[in-house]
Symmetry: C2
Amino acid sequence: MRDVFHEELESITADHLKMTALVRDAIESATKALLNADLQLAEKVIADDLAVDTIQHNLDERTINIMARQQPVASDLRRLVSSLRISADLERMGDLAHHIAKLARMRFPNKAVPDEVVETIAEMGFAASRIVDKMAVVLEFHDTNRALEIDADDDEMDKLQRKLISTILGPDWKHSVESAVDMAFASRYYERFSDHAVSIAQRVYYTETGEFAPKS
Amino acid sequence: MRDVFHEELESITADHLKMTALVRDAIESATKALLNADLQLAEKVIADDLAVDTIQHNLDERTINIMARQQPVASDLRRLVSSLRISADLERMGDLAHHIAKLARMRFPNKAVPDEVVETIAEMGFAASRIVDKMAVVLEFHDTNRALEIDADDDEMDKLQRKLISTILGPDWKHSVESAVDMAFASRYYERFSDHAVSIAQRVYYTETGEFAPKS
């Protein structure tokens, strides 16, 4: 009975990793689509978000069925509840990549990103991909050290967002208000994307150690 | 045994309603603080958000303990999982009211809201309060008709957001980029606040009927 249960836990992790891979592709492609005004790529990210939602839907059904059949207590039950929350975070990360792609599509054939902030947006994209890669390791290997590192990576993301906001609000901003608002929203999407990765890392940390992750 | 379980379910709903009342106060006060540059009120909303987080934390612990003790299956288990998701949505609604209050605090002693958009922001605040009131009825009485109405209320919120965005991006906007970005973020917070209410209503609908709520 216990073996079946542990196999089931592993299959949940496998689905989390599938979602993670999709979300990683999505944020990377959405960033490219945004920077290069690539409509085709933007459309692909928007369409592919359905795959993340579908995995989440089926996974959550399966997780609830495992709860009903196995009647787990204590740490096993917590692990399943945590799994449901992790899949919700991943689904939301997919949505945020989708929002970034929609910004690219909305401004096509123009580039949504003015030259002055290309570098910062590119850095936010890289930071997001890096955080997702680390999150995949945390999920796959229950790596609590990496889980703690993600908090610092998120600080870096927050710093990039502040830099972007100060550029668009600075005296040298010569682009439209529309462009400033687009970039403000884009930075918010990256920042929230990163927050959800932090939240996933904290859930894994808590499940593994029984303690809340210390704040960086 | 079943009676204890149903009492426990009722006590979960009671906590959801407590959170709802706090979140309702928060969004109403945050809107006032934003419109009137009321620093004291903004600080109160920011400080009070902790109360919502604390209820959620304790409630989730209790809900997981009920799962472990009662070993519910089928619809009772689904109801508990749904409760966890509802408390997460409520906690997030509290955060969003908190974000609006922080906008007010950031611009104090200036008013964050330019005259041209005072009416729209006020309407978004009213719409948010109305949606929370309806959501409270849905939660308390498992009212599936009201649950469906919330989707239409959310459409109204989306319309207000589009109106606000088109004002700040319109040719007559004579205020700063900073002000436009503030208002864009504010509108996003109201819109997300409303989305979480929709999500709660849909969860109640699903728990009560076993079917997904039709889209408006």
